[in-house]
Amino acid sequence: MRAAVIVFPGSNCDRDLAVAFDRAGFSVEMVWHKDAALPQGVDIVGVPGGFSYGDYLRCGAIAAQSPICKAVAEHTERGGYAIGICNGFQVLTETGILPGALLRNAGLKYICRTVGLKVQTSDSAFTEGYNAGDVIDIPIAHHDGNYFADDETLAALKDQDRIAFTYAENPNGSRDDIAGILSHNRRVLGMMPHPERAADSGHGGTDGTALFRALSGVFAPA
């Protein structure tokens, strides 16, 4: 089981994500944004949180044009798995791998606290360790986490059961309280909250562990 974690200038959750993958049994390779290819045989790509390129232009916009993001897009087009967390979610929307965009928080403030997340679907490799309707405690830490998609896109996300998580109490103005969404084939998850920051008792919560454990179940040798 192999995971690759992408590192941009300004990433700051890359090591946390690597530790979470490692604890779940993955061997993890860190991949620099200037690399044009992912390591051979990678099962899942993690696009971490942080402030890639200082959030210049728009959050994730410059990172989305980096050489490694072309490789990540090809990986997902081939049916490969990926998870984008916080800035990583912004990068995945900017590349077009996931629909919609993340706007400035409606209250204009950077928000850093643990919030309740409602699991909307357990039908994905990421969420099958939860039950739909579960409320889990996961930290958020973002200034631009206000999910926006047009009506047509929102309707499609709902019809196809692709909303993975919603906020129990909307902190940032996201449409329909959306905190995380899945790709068409359910193999790419983008979410603003940080499951890798709730994956060790030292973090103050371990509700994120089930996500990584479920992923390891998908890739574990039979």
Binding site: A61, A101, L103, R104, A106, F148
Partner: protein, 76 residues
């Protein structure tokens, strides 16, 4: 040649920064302001032979996120 690109949030997309500016103006007594939308202006210095179509491609691929933003190009 130079191009000036205006990038604005699309109508219907909430602009909390513009809204905060509107509130501040109102609090200052400028109650004639009914709405504020805030955007970006990007100036490009272009090499000889660059066309408006080139700038349009730049806007679509990077300078604007057309999911949430619209852009206008001014050649100067």
């Amino acid at each position: 040649m130079k191009a000036r690109v205006h990038v604005m949030l699309k109508n219907g997309v909430l602009d909390p920064q513009g809204e905060a500016v509107r509130h501040a103006l109102g609090a200052m007594g400028f109650d004639q302001v009914e709405g504020v939308r805030q955007g970006k202006v990007i100036d490009l210095e272009l090499a000889e032979g660059a066309t408006e179509a080139d700038v349009t491609a730049m806007c679509e691929k990077l300078l604007a996120n057309t999911v949430i933003e619209r852009f206008e190009i001014e050649l100067v």
